[in-house]
Each structure stands twice: as structure tokens, then as C-alpha cells.
Amino acid sequence: MPEGRIVISGLMLGIFVAMVGMAFTFAPGARMLPLVIGIPGVILTAMQFYTELHSKESKRASSEHVKREMTMIGWFLIFVVGILCFGFIYGAPVLIASYLYFSWKEKWYTALISMALAYVVLDFVFQEFIGIILFEGLILLYLFY
């Protein structure tokens, strides 16, 4: 498995190459700046990728740290999917309580208080007081609207 620094520089190179490639499909007037900016970007990221490939520097993170990072990114994904499915009003408070209870092993009442606080802020402050309609969630929209 290559090191993270090689992966990220390769990823950046890939992104620039893809963006420059796509720029050729734009109308002549629209592709001028993406090409003017993108081509130097390809050159610079290729230089960085080459440097990383030939670098002797090795900074592998401990497997424990990588595991924690993956767990946190996993929770972030759960937040995104949860909010997209169940919206801010109902999804977010449950997610907040779950995160605190399962990930940080908080006391159940701390998790419940946080859930209630989140609900109050999102529903009463945003929807009722400020008057902003928050996203209801795709599943709830499908079922009830």
C-alpha cells in the first residue's frame, strides 16, 4: 500500500488531468481560463508526484491512529447520509446523541440533553423563530410530502 503522501499527490494529479481533459470539451470562450490554469496545475502536481515517488521520507501513521481517522470519517459519512435521509430536524439530533454515546462513551443523559438541545435549536430557533425551512430529508419527503 503506497504512503498517504503519494496517494494524495497522485490524486491531485489525477484531478487536474481530468479537469484539463474535460476543459477541451467546452466552447472555445469557456475553456480559455480552465486551460490556462489547469495545464500549469498538471505540470506542478506531476512534479510533486514525481518528488513524492522518489522521496525516501517515510511518515506512516500508527495503525491505531489510522483506525481512529477511519472511524471519524465513517461518523462523518453517517451524519451526511443521516441528514440526507431524515433531514436536519429529526436526523441531526439523533445523530448527535448517537455520536456522543457510541463514539465518546458519554453518559446516556449527556447524549439525551445534547439531542434535546439540538432539536430545540434546529426546530424552535431556526424554523419557528428565524423562519427558515430546513431540509426535511429524502425519505421523509418521499413518505409524507
Binding site: 498517504g4 503522501r5 496517494v7 494524495i8 499527490s9 490524486l11 491531485m12 484531478i15 487536474f16 479537469m19 474535460m22 476543459a23 467546452f26 466552447a27 470562450g29 469557456a30 481560463l33 480552465p34 490554469i37 489547469g38 500549469p40 496545475g41 506542478l44 502536481t45 512534479m47 510533486q48 518528488t51 491512529h65 481512529r68 481517522e69 472511524t71 471519524m72 470519517i73 461518523w75 462523518f76 459519512l77 451524519f79 451526511v80 441528514i83 440526507l84 436536519f88 441531526a92 445523530l95 448527535i96 455520536y99 456522543l100 463514539s103 465518546w104 449527556t110 445534547s114 439540538a118 434546529l122 430557533v125 431556526f126 428565524i130 423562519g131 427558515i132 430546513l134 431540509f135 429524502l138
Partner: protein, 500 residues
């Protein structure tokens, strides 16, 4: 100088109960976010963005700026009491502030920090106010040609400040520009990088980009570090009389306080240098100008005063390029700029002619918020030691939620909540592997300015716009900033500015 507008704005700010109430809400919030290690002012802005959505421009800007301007004052509290910097800009304060606490002078160190921050903040605002009439003709002389070159200068400058990571810095600056091209092309109306998705026709909102590159990676990083639940230190009660002694120290060293405030404000003007540079440069200045430099590092009060004045005065300087050229001096200012755009405020040269009262309201907000912060902190002194019992980890899920909410509200499209996940994961990888992220933010902010100005400049003058006198000056500055980088990197080998 527009004295009537200046005084009118101050009168309105102080006599409008709604604005005063907003400042009373914003200042404690700023102190709190500054004092919590791992959070900081950017996270504070993230949390406030959903609340200011739909507000009128002036109240929205007042609450954001009041909060942002006192974050560094809050950041000095854990630095001094526990030796843990609340944010990157407070690291210089740790050296002498924490030593003073260990010697039993924690209250005095806090007082010196509060007094210096308040004075620095006020002098930074005064600096901004005094620069206004000087800069006004320069700002108004700028045409699309100069704005295009200014955008390029901003990116080059910040990328060259990425130090030994110049290639990474420039790459990310260019990547930011490429992200700014997502959406409908302003000249042809054709979609670019939209993948057939309607929500991308409006482009990637700056709030989404900055949240993805800063707030969310910070939260992923904080959530991956389990020791944030540990107590920060010992909870101690401090006396208000000790704090007053520290405030007195600021005025006993008034020459140093004024000098470092001015240095901080000037450093704030330079995009990319940021608060870390301001506080360290001023700390170095305090050591060099002292008759007894051997006291530094062992609990010298001047070692607290110098970085603290600079930290707060630089906000006044940093507002100048942000407001008048839409070139944010730091990632915090970029986020503030994005929030201003969301409020319907369009930074740029026209703000001087069309919204001068707004500019003066911001200047006064800076000054009043810093003074209010000092008053509030003096009142809170006996309880500041109990900060040791707070756990920043409790805020992680709230910040995640409010960041997603801010991203949704900024663009009004739920698809952005999905988009930000991918951008934030990329942002975290970049952070993890030391890719300097400020150039990316500046690229996203300046991309539309650069493209729009280039099209206008080409339409008016053709390619000869590069030969306009002011254009030549800016080209000279671009070349000069790269040459300076080459010279400095050859001289020092490892010149590097932190992730501002």
C-alpha cells in the same frame, strides 16, 4: 475624511439596541471558541453562518466580525493558564504567559493579555480608519485590468508564503481557481464541470469550499485525537486585582504596546502572513528592544503584551484587502468574506463609494467588540480557571451538524451536503499531508474575480491591458514576490508560514 459618516455609524452602532445585543451575544461566543483548543474563530463563524442566514447585512456583519475579532483574546486564556494554545496565533503567548502562571502570576498574565488585546484591537481599528482616506483614491483607480492582476498577485503571494511547499501551495491555489470555474461560464453561458447537475450551475459556494477545507477537516482531526477529553489543567480561582495589575502593565509598557499594535496591523494587511507571523514577529521585536532580554522565556510580562497586541490589531489590517479588494488576508477572513457575500454584501472598490457607512460600522465594531471583550473577561476572571473542566469533544457533532446546515443554507441545495463530504475528505488528506490550504481558499475566492476582470479587461483594452502603468506595477509585485521567495528559500532553506 468623512467625519459625519464615521460618527454617524458609531452613534447608530451604540444606540441601536439590536446591534448592541448582537455584540453582547457575539463577544462571549468569540471568547468561548477562542478558548477551546481545536475550535477557534473559523469554527465559530461556521456555527454562526446558519443563524445569520436571512439577516440584514449590517446586523449579520456586526455579529460575525464582533465574534471573529475577539477570538484571539479567548485563545490566550488556555495558553496562559494551562500552556495549551487555544489557536495557532496564541502559541507565542505560551512562552512567557505560562511561565508567569507557574510563578503564581496567572492573574497578572491574564490582565496583561486582556489589556493588550483590547488596546491592540482598538488601535487596529484606528489604523483601518486612518488608512481609509489614504487608500480611497488608490482603490477607485483600479480597473478590471488591475483586479485581474491583483487576483493573480494574491494567489502568487500566498503560494510563495507556503515556503518549502511552494509546488504544493501553487498547485492548491490553481486547484482553488479550477473549483471556482465550476458552473456556468460568464461569457458563453455554457456549463463547466457540472456533470449534468443543475445544483452545480451556480458553482461551488465559497462557504462550502471553506467549510470543506477548514472546519470539517479540523473536526475530523479533533475527533481522531482521543486525548481532547483530558482535563486541560488545574482549576484555580484568580483575583480581579491581579488582572488590573496586568492591565496596568500594558500602559506601563505603552511604547511597546503601540509599536507592536502598529506592526500587527501592517502585517495583517499582507495576505497570507496571518496571526502566527504577527505574534511571533512582535514577540521577537519585544525581545530585541528590551534592555533585559534574558527575562524572556522566564515569565516577562512584555512577552505576553507584544504578541497579544499584534494578534488583535492585525484584524484591522486584514479587513482592508478583504473589504476593498475582496482579497482575504487569511482563511478566517475568507470565511468572513463568504459570509458577507451570503448576506448580500459585495466587497470591492465600490464599497467605499456606495457603502461607506457599512465600512465605518465594521471599523467601530472592531473597536467596541474588543473593549467589550476586556470588560466581560474582567468580570469572568474568578471563573476562568474552571475552563479546565470543559471538553471540546462535546462540540464535534454540533459543529458537524452546523457545518452541513451552513453548506445547505448557503446554496439552498441538499446535494451540496453530499458534495461537501467528498471535498472535506480531500481537505482532510491535504491537511494530513501538509499541503498548505490557504492558497486553495484564496483561489476559490479570487477565481470569479479573476475571470470576470480578465474578460472585461480584454473587451476594453485587448491584450494591451498588461501595459497599463498600474498593471505594470502589479506585474512587478508578482515577479517580486516570486523573486523574494527564491531569495529567502536560498537564504534560510526552510522559510515557512503556518496554515493561516
Amino acid at each position: 475624511m468623512h467625519i459625519d459618516v464615521a460618527l454617524g455609524s458609531l452613534y447608530t452602532l451604540l444606540t441601536t439596541p439590536y446591534l448592541v445585543m448582537l455584540m453582547f451575544i457575539a463577544v462571549p461566543l468569540g471568547i468561548f471558541f477562542g478558548a477551546m483548543p481545536g475550535l477557534g474563530g473559523k469554527i465559530g463563524i461556521v456555527l454562526l453562518i446558519p443563524f445569520i442566514f436571512g439577516m440584514d447585512p449590517i446586523p449579520g456583519a456586526v455579529i460575525l466580525l464582533a465574534m471573529h475579532s475577539v477570538v484571539h483574546t479567548g485563545g490566550s486564556i488556555p495558553s496562559i493558564l494551562f500552556g495549551i494554545p487555544g489557536d495557532g496565533t496564541s502559541t507565542a503567548v505560551v512562552i512567557d504567559g505560562y511561565e508567569m502562571t507557574k510563578k503564581g502570576e496567572g492573574g497578572r498574565a491574564l490582565g496583561a493579555s486582556f489589556g493588550a488585546s483590547g488596546l491592540g484591537g482598538v488601535l487596529g481599528a484606528v489604523f483601518l480608519g486612518l488608512m481609509l482616506p489614504v487608500l480611497e483614491p488608490v482603490i477607485l483607480a483600479f480597473s478590471p485590468a488591475e483586479f485581474f492582476l491583483l487576483a493573480i498577485l494574491g494567489i502568487t503571494f500566498i503560494a510563495t508564503l507556503s515556503g518549502k511547499n511552494i509546488v504544493k501551495g501553487l498547485s492548491l491555489g490553481l486547484f482553488g481557481l479550477m473549483i471556482a470555474f465550476v458552473g456556468l461560464d460568464p461569457s458563453t453561458g455554457g456549463p463547466r464541470y457540472t456533470f449534468g447537475q443543475l445544483f452545480l450551475w451556480d458553482g461551488v459556494h465559497i462557504i462550502t469550499a471553506v467549510l470543506a477545507m477548514y472546519a470539517l477537516p479540523e473536526m475530523i482531526g479533533l475527533g481522531s485525537t482521543k486525548n481532547v477529553t483530558m482535563k486541560m489543567g488545574k482549576s484555580t480561582r484568580y483575583k480581579v486585582s491581579e488582572v488590573w495589575q496586568g492591565i496596568g502593565d500594558v500602559f506601563r509598557h505603552w511604547k511597546l504596546s503601540i509599536r507592536t499594535s502598529l506592526i500587527g496591523a501592517v502585517i495583517g494587511l499582507v495576505p497570507g502572513l496571518g496571526g502566527d507571523a504577527a505574534s511571533w514577529i512582535c514577540y521577537g521585536h519585544a525581545v530585541q528592544s528590551s534592555k533585559t532580554p534574558e527575562r524572556f522565556g522566564k515569565g516577562a510580562v512584555e512577552g505576553v503584551i507584544a504578541p497579544e497586541t499584534a494578534n488583535n490589531s492585525k484584524e484591522g489590517g486584514a479587513l482592508l484587502p478583504t473589504l476593498f479588494f475582496a482579497v482575504p488576508g487569511s482563511s478566517g477572513m475568507a470565511l468572513l468574506l463568504g459570509a458577507f457575500l451570503m448576506l448580500g454584501i459585495q466587497p470591492g472598490p465600490t464599497i467605499v463609494t456606495e457603502n461607506l457607512d457599512f465600512v465605518w460600522t465594521l471599523i467601530w465594531t472592531l473597536a467596541v467588540a474588543n473593549l467589550l471583550c476586556v470588560v466581560i473577561l474582567i468580570g469572568l476572571t474568578p471563573w476562568l480557571g474552571s475552563l479546565a473542566n470543559l471538553r471540546p469533544s462535546l462540540l464535534i457533532p454540533f459543529v458537524l451538524t452546523f457545518a452541513l446546515l451552513g453548506c445547505y443554507l448557503a446554496s439552498g441545495a441538499w446535494q451540496n451536503v453530499g458534495l461537501i463530504f467528498f471535498l472535506a475528505c480531500l481537505g482532510y488528506m491535504l491537511k494530513r499531508h501538509n499541503w498548505p490550504r490557504p492558497p486553495f481558499v484564496i483561489g476559490v475566492v479570487l477565481g470569479p474575480v479573476a475571470e470576470d476582470s480578465l474578460h472585461k479587461a480584454l473587451a476594453i483594452w485587448g491584450p494591451s491591458f498588461f501595459l497599463r502603468p498600474l498593471s505594470l506595477v502589479l506585474i512587478g509585485l508578482i515577479v517580486g514576490s516570486i523573486a523574494l521567495y527564491v531569495w529567502r528559500s536560498r537564504k534560510t532553506g526552510n522559510f515557512e508560514v503556518p496554515d493561516a
